[in-house]
């Protein structure tokens, strides 16, 4: 460790370095684990100083930021995303009607994923995978499936005993770069509540946990929406599956 450079960690944490000194410290930082660890601690302390300066911004800033965000492209994540339960499966899930076979395949897929997943994804995804597995394995699970307009198939599995459900998509075409799939719960009057957005894996697979509200829904709908999603469906559903309990 270079002691002179190491001593700069405090100044760096409060952005008090400039120019060549800043560059020299950053170069050192990249190869010094001790500095990186200390920096994380000192940045936490600095952020505590920052957080007590809080002051509500003018309300119009919120509108400006949210509008600008909906127009701004996002940089790709370092690790891809929605539901990696299926992403790392070795074999594409051959579509099978009926929950029983799907349970076996998904549980097996979950096991593979667990074995090779990266450390920091684990806790979050374990919970999600456990939910999905519990729904699919529940004795009272019921499945509805249908072809998706545009390609692929979608199924909804609902398990009243687990108070939730799962949407499973297979062979879904990737949406255009400025579009996303969005799932909805619709009540008997046709009012839609968003469940969330997803992008299928490269194989066209998707698994999305459905909230307890699915038990009261009449229909699960799938639409293709502009990136960022919509407050209410803006296109014809590519899939509408009745929820029968």
């Amino acid at each position: 460790m270079n002691d002179d450079l190491h001593l700069l960690v405090g100044a760096y944490a409060v952005d008090a370095l400039e120019g060549s000194e800043r560059a020299a410290f950053e170069e050192h930082l990249a190869s010094c684990a001790a500095c990186a660890e200390e920096l994380a601690d000192l940045q936490d302390a600095a952020a505590a100083l920052g957080s007590v300066a809080a002051l509500a911004p003018p309300p119009q800033l919120r509108t400006r930021v949210l509008d600008a965000a909906s127009q701004a492209r996002q940089e790709p994540a370092q690790t891809a995303s929605v539901v990696p339960l299926q992403r790392r499966r070795r074999h594409p899930l051959a579509w099978v009607a009926g929950a029983a076979a799907a349970v076996v395949m998904l549980v097996a897929g979950g096991a593979t994923w667990r074995a090779i997943s990266v450390e920091q994804e684990l806790s979050l995804l374990r919970a999600q995978a456990a939910d999905v597995t519990a729904v699919l394995a529940a004795p009272d699970a019921r499945t509805e499936s249908a072809a998706v307009a545009g390609g692929g198939r979608g199924a909804v599995v609902v398990a009243p005993s687990q108070e939730r459900g799962v949407f499973v998509g297979t062979s879904l075409p990737a949406p255009a770069p400025d579009r996303t799939y969005q799932l909805w719960l619709l009540d008997a009057a046709g009012r839609a509540t968003s469940v969330g957005l997803f992008r299928p894996t490269g194989d066209g697979d998707a698994t999305v946990a459905l909230p307890p509200g699915v038990l009261d829904a009449a229909t699960v709908g799938l639409t293709v929406e502009p990136s960022g999603g919509s407050r209410a469906p803006t296109t014809e559903p590519v899939l509408a599956l009745p929820v029968r309990l």
């Binding site: 100044a11 952005d15 008090a16 936490d44 302390a45 701004a72 995303s81």
Partner: protein, 177 residues
């Protein structure tokens, strides 16, 4: 908040709106603290929130808490701006105003009084020289050379005071526990 960032990284605009509501006061307040100008502070807050939107997928929970990530972005941008825009005279003015307590405006904020008291207590636990150096650098946006000039002490002394002061703050706050 980590979950809001994860959902934001997937393009979920509702999650981003919730994230905005959770951090906007801290982002804007810190920018204003450094810049002392509401128009500049608003611009910085907007830049920071859009950077969060764009780069949420790059946020690595292993490298720090979500609020630390966002406020570190905020401080960096605010400081860049203060250095590029303020004349020497404006900086002197800034130094004069900074000699008072850094908490003059805090009573107005949305932050829980308890957190303010905790941080105030932690700052009070620093030696006077440490507190001056940390306050001038962090809230004032001064470089360590400028802090050395303002306090009329050697540069090496300022480096040590900044580091030791932050370590003591961190230990008092136990912010990572």
């Amino acid at each position: 908040m980590g979950d809001l960032i994860r959902r934001t990284s997937l393009g979920d605009e509702e999650a981003f709106a919730d994230l905005y509501d959770a951090v906007a006061a801290q982002v804007y307040g810190l920018a204003l603290r450094v810049l002392r100008d509401t128009a500049h502070a608003e611009e910085v807050a907007q830049e920071v929130m859009l950077e969060v939107w764009r780069t949420a997928g790059r946020y690595d929970p292993a490298r720090g808490r979500p609020l630390t990530w966002i406020l570190t972005l905020t401080h960096g941008r605010a400081v860049d701006r203060v250095r590029s825009q303020h004349s020497a005279a404006a900086r002197d003015d800034r130094a004069a105003r900074l000699t008072g307590t850094p908490f003059d405006e805090v009573a107005e904020t949305v932050v829980a009084r308890l957190d303010v008291e905790r941080v105030r207590g932690a700052l009070a636990g620093l030696s006077e020289p440490q507190r001056q150096a940390v306050t001038l650098a962090y809230y004032g946006g001064y470089t360590h050379r400028e802090v050395a000039d303002l306090l009329d002490v050697p540069l090496g002394t300022v480096k040590t005071r900044l580091r030791d002061g932050l370590i003591r703050l961190r230990n008092t706050l136990e912010v990572r526990s």
